[in-house]
Chain length 227, copies 2
DNA sequence: TTATTATATGTAAAAAATACACTAATGCAA
DNA sequence: TTGCATTAGTGTATTTTTTACATATAATAA
């Protein structure tokens, strides 16, 4: 009983963009200008063009919404519940990204589709359009798994950072405290950070040594990092 | 310079099905009856129906080609290079599965699309259609990663199996030898297998105790298993 | 100069991973 | 029926990794 189906699917990409802002783990949301879910917050996304690679589409969306390029972007999962999108079949290929919130200004040129772009606390999300809450939750889970394998947290930090800042990123994402000495031991022995001859200046108290990440090969599995 | 695109994408699912047969890791391939790549071997796949969930589509494909249900099936990755499919844009959501080859007979009802179904040795693949070689390679990589986290190898074994058989599956997938005592220690201490009061009979030599897997929760991350 | 605060550091104990070699049970052939 | 061949099954010592934990240091502000 095969039904001949002539209509084809629509395919979008949605990008879950994380950052740390004011000591909180945040996710970037846009407010929808149109139905369905008009007025609701959603993950930035858009239709994949007919001759556009999936990664390229996700990068384009990212750039359109945040002006950011050259970022850690990873395909997350493809969500295809036939009921996830009202009144039509839209399959979405979700990505996630980590960025530094300081060096970017939120922008959205396409006022016809979006009325607002804002960072939202991950543990205090508004009501979301579609299955976007599920996508964010899955994204968090995956980000935690990735963090154990490879130090993607550096994407959240400036080029030069202190080990305390790095540890703080880890603690935010993993949602638990880590021991300072063990953390430093592990980071330093893993050879993924380069010790600089510079120190923090501006703050009061003892200056902290600065470090930088050196030639990180992302996606490479280099044994486990933190668990 | 936005080009208005009215045509939409086609979406397929391809399922990489692994088994162990005659002591080799095998993958199921079908021979294409039509262009493109007429006569070439390919991963079994097909178009996702308009109101069909992705997982359901993959399960359907699996059943159509192998008559097998209730299997370990995991979404692998979505491949969307605009050039992966000649003359049209086809995005494919790939899955992978592990099955026991004994208790299934290969079948393909749709002779109009497939002329043959066969198991092929993973390390001796024929020339494949589309980007299917890449998909299989990625699938292998992912299967190895999964195996370290959760004992999916049991899908390759009969309900009752010996620890030697289990170890052999691991060695085949991981592509390396494991120490027998350490392997058994780890498996037994993990509490994932249940010792039975039965032994192998038919073979010559000392009979081996049989074990079974007990209520495996797949996809659950239970710490690491083998590395 | 003293108090305050964040930086920075090492060691001992516990747990996990690894390396490694012999005995046990059976079938088969002499 | 004995012993030879073959696969099953077992334990310990060593190394590596992970964890737990407390005090001295460098700067600023009062």
């Amino acid at each position: 009983m095969l039904i001949k189906e002539t209509k084809t699917h629509e395919v979008t990409t949605d990008v879950v963009i994380f950052t740390i802002k004011n000591g909180k783990l945040m996710v970037l949301l846009v407010r929808r200008a149109n139905e369905p879910f008009k007025g609701k917050w959603a993950i930035p996304g858009g239709f994949i063009r007919l001759s556009e690679d999936l990664d390229a589409a996700a990068l384009r969306i990212l750039k359109e919404k945040t002006n950011v390029q050259n970022i850690y972007l990873e395909q997350l999962y493809t969500f295809g519940d036939p009921l996830r999108y009202p009144n039509s079949r839209v399959i979405t290929c979700a990505y996630f990204a980590l960025i530094r919130s300081d060096d970017l200004e939120l922008s959205f040129e396409d006022k016809s589709q979006i009325t607002d772009v804002q960072w939202h606390k991950v543990n205090q999300l508004p009501s979301l359009a579609f299955d976007h809450r599920e996508i964010i939750e899955y994204s968090l889970k995956r980000m935690r798994e990735r963090l154990e394998l490879c130090p993607i947290a550096f994407q959240l930090l400036p080029k030069k950072f202190t080990l305390t800042e790095l540890q703080y990123s880890y603690e935010l994402i993993m949602g638990k405290k880590l021991d300072k000495r063990n953390f430093r031991k592990k980071v330093l022995s893993s050879k993924i950070v380069k010790e600089l001859d510079e120190y923090t200046k501006s703050t009061s108290k003892r200056p902290a040594r600065l470090y930088s990440f050196d030639n990180i090969t992302l996606n490479s599995k280099r044994g486990h990092f933190f668990s």
